[in-house]
């Protein structure tokens, strides 16, 4: 690479010499003195009054046009990044969570139905169907939001294929179970292994990727580079306008040059407007983060953790003493849930429900360890435990909905004015250029 690049200029330089030896060389020699002449003429301008004015006009026009361009781009990029955050990154995060929790819940429910023995209870079948529908719906819309070839798209592909296989395995398990054949249990454990070993890790990767995208989305939306450039240009424009006016009031009899004063006022308005719109955006983006996407993402993790607990409990029992790994996973999840439940948006009711659930879980483990397997199963899938757990998940869901709404509202407010900024800043900058030209040309006329 580097050698190729280094080699390239050489042939380029040699070409004119070899192909057009006679004509090219004189041309090049003519150009060089010409350029020198231009610089000399520019330098010479500084020494005459009209020359200085011409230079000032050129500077003002350049600064004005650049300000308009950068201001428009700043508004545009902030606007599109903000709406990307609201319309793509955050919904993707929500969908990734829905995929994860849907799959985890389907797995938990299937394991519980297995534990119940006999014909699957209708309530469990319905919950499984709902959970799987939630996951596949979210999967379909997440697929629309991920660019082709991205890691997220790869995860979604694995998930889409895997979910179809998973659903087929569970359906077979059910059909076989209806015939009373023990191989139904093996189908269910194959399905569960697929879910836990392949699908959930992919869903988790998707979720983490979406979290990163949201974090990156905030950086893009507040694009510090554009903002800094705009500030420098506006400050430069204001300074150039003031200096020109100072120079004019010193060298002419007029204290004020009306068009230039107008241009200065417009520039100040432009600066003020940009400041208001952009700082409004920053404030609300910040709030969307602290009261919206951050707690929402934390709540989503809580939901994932508690579903993992519930699933581990059922699988520990289903493995009949061979489930030490699930039991250990439960303890790991429980350790993380403890701190995660401290989330300020969760009610004490949720924490209480989790405590109740944990106590029942302890009893379940105690019963199982003491050999009373049937009682352990009965308690684990019984109404009391189910109710405590469902209260918990319902509380988490409510809190999560609240945070999602807060995010949407803040993002809506943050985007306010950005469209206007995109259009008005270039227009104002053009007006500044026109006024500056008018003001200076009036003085230049006097030298004719």
């Amino acid at each position: 690479m580097s050698t190729a690049l280094a080699a390239r200029p050489q042939p380029g330089r040699q070409q004119p010499d070899t192909r057009l030896p006679g004509t090219q060389r004189p041309d090049a020699q003519v150009l060089r003195p010409e350029r020198g002449g231009l610089f000399r003429r520019l330098r010479a301008l500084r020494h005459t009054s009209p020359g200085r004015l011409q230079l000032a006009l050129a500077a003002l026009l350049t600064l004005g046009l650049l300000t308009g361009l950068v201001g428009g781009l700043t508004g545009y990029s902030a606007g599109s990044a903000t709406s990307d955050l609201g319309n793509r990154a955050q919904p993707l995060l929500v969908e990734a969570e829905a995929i994860y929790s849907g799959l985890a819940e389907a797995d938990t429910t299937a394991a519980q139905a297995f534990l119940a023995g006999g014909l699957e209870p209708a309530a469990l079948t319905r919950r499984y169907d709902d959970a799987l529908t939630r996951a596949t719906t979210a999967l379909a819309s997440a697929a629309r939001r991920t660019p082709e070839g991205s890691p997220a798209a790869a995860s979604i592909e694995v998930l889409a294929n895997g979910v179809a296989r998973y659903a087929a395995l569970v359906a077979t398990a059910r059909a076989v179970n209806r015939q009373g054949l023990p191989v139904g249990a093996s189908y269910l454990s194959s399905a569960s292994a697929l879910n836990r070993d392949v699908l959930l890790p992919q869903a988790q990767a998707l979720f983490r990727g979406a979290q990163d995208e949201v974090a990156g989305g905030y950086d893009d939306a507040t694009g510090a580079g554009w903002r800094l450039l705009l500030t420098v240009l506006v400050a430069g424009l204001l300074a150039a306008l003031l200096l020109t006016q100072a120079h004019l009031s010193l060298t002419t009899k007029r204290t004020f040059n009306v068009p230039l004063v107008g241009a200065t006022v417009l520039t100040a308005l432009l600066a003020l407007g940009s400041l208001i719109v952009l700082s409004n955006q920053s404030t609300h983006l910040n709030r969307a983060g602290t009261t919206g996407s951050q707690p929402a993402s934390a709540l989503a993790e809580v939901r994932i953790l508690v579903l993992r607990e519930r699933g581990d409990e059922a699988l520990t029992l289903a493995a009949r003493g061979g489930g030490a790994a699930y039991d250990k996973d439960f303890e790991d999840a429980r350790a993380s849930v403890g701190t995660a439940l401290g989330n300020e948006y969760l009610t004490t009711k949720a924490r209480g429900a989790h405590q109740t659930y944990l106590e029942t879980h302890e009893t379940v483990r105690e019963l199982d360890k003491n050999g009373d397997y049937d009682a352990a199963v009965k308690l684990a899938i019984g109404d009391q435990t189910t109710e405590a757990f469902e209260t918990l998940t319902a509380e988490i869901a409510t809190a999560l909905e609240g945070r999602k709404a807060a995010f949407t509202a803040e993002i809506g407010t943050a985007g306010r004015g950005l469209g206007l900024l995109t259009v008005l800043v270039p227009l104002l900058a053009l007006a500044v250029c026109v006024l500056a030209a008018a003001g200076i040309r009036a003085r230049l006329e006097e030298y004719r």
């Binding site: 249990a185 093996s186 194959s190 061979g322």
Partner: protein, 317 residues
């Protein structure tokens, strides 16, 4: 029940010869259980011992509920339940009844006879499901009192655990799809043949004399092998004939082929730390053979295979 009738039909085809469980050869073909074995080269059979010979019972059984002080049986009695290690997907031997959720079968009933001898109540038993590859370790480290899980008594395992006297004679066969032209496992060269990881069946697949040898595929349990077979992931399943009969009973598109190519004498495995328990279990088996309990248990679970044969004779060292 329809299921039982199916079992009957298939079992009749399989015939009288058939009952069995786990795979590890005794005298004839080969032996040792290294899961990685892939070469068909026959390993020298481990004939250093007679795996069928167990410890002789010491006199008559104590009365239920009055286990001799200091014995392992007294420990179990104090605990209030016998812990039996088994599987939950071996139809007829130990499988989970999908209607009741309970694990039941021939192996479980063997364990229940031991529980009845200790407590006078066969229900004082806790079923712990263990993987095929955990059967030796679970018995050795005492996490279960007794393993009854279609487990072949062989010399290699005798090095780690005690076996009871033989309570069942099985032999390895192979299950293929009904449209397969194969007549025996030798015809399955290069095909994928599934067995449970840690079972002697798995090791035996690699010793089949065919060119090329069948490809052994390990799954956590035999139920998973049946799933793999039905999903076309493997071409065949090879293990003890009765386990295969239980599978064929669940799949009308599967058949069991060929002669038994190994001998698999089943024993219950226990820790070597308390030989008095092994002697006790052997005494229970002795009584079971004598008073018709063994025959009744056979008829209950395996009666569809034909009339109960004579129980395997006890051998002692």
């Amino acid at each position: 029940m329809a299921r039982t009738r199916y079992v009957v039909a298939v079992a009749l085809v399989l015939a009288v010869a058939g009952c069995s469980g786990d795979s590890s050869p005794l005298p004839a073909p080969t032996g040792p259980p290294t899961a990685t074995a892939t070469s068909p080269a026959t390993k020298a059979p481990d004939t250093a011992c007679n795996p069928r010979a167990s410890l002789r019972p010491s006199g008559a059984l104590p009365k239920p509920g009055r286990m001799p002080a200091g014995s392992w049986m007294a420990e179990i009695q104090k605990r209030g339940r016998l812990i039996l290690g088994t599987s939950q997907d071996t139809l007829l031997f130990s499988s989970r009844n999908p209607f009741t959720g309970k694990v039941e079968g021939f192996d479980v009933d063997m364990g229940r006879q031991v529980a009845a001898a200790i407590f006078g109540n066969p229900d004082k038993i806790q079923i712990k499901v263990i993987g095929y590859d955990e059967r030796v370790s679970a018995a050795r480290d005492g996490s279960v009192d007794l393993v009854a899980d279609t487990m072949t008594a062989n010399c290699e395992r005798w090095a780690d655990v005690h076996f009871s006297t033989v309570y069942y004679e099985a032999g390895q066969k192979v299950l293929v799809s009904t449209d397969s032209p194969a007549k025996s496992i030798e015809d399955l060269g290069g095909k994928k043949v599934c067995a449970a990881a840690g079972s002697t069946s798995y090791d035996n697949i690699a010793t089949v004399r065919s060119q090329p040898a069948p490809v052994a595929v390990a799954k956590p349990a035999f139920g998973d092998c049946l799933v793999a077979f039905q999903q076309n992931e493997v071409d065949a399943i090879s293990t003890d004939d009765t386990i295969l009969a239980g599978m064929a009973a669940q799949d009308p598109y599967a058949k069991v082929i060929g002669p038994k190519f190994t001998e698999e004498p089943y024993g219950m495995a226990m820790s070597q730390d308390h030989p008095e328990f092994t002697r006790f279990v052997n005494a229970v088996l002795e009584r079971s053979r004598a008073d018709g309990t063994w025959k009744a248990t056979y008829e209950k679970w395996l009666g569809e295979f034909g009339p109960a044969p004579a129980p395997p004779a006890a051998e002692y060292r």
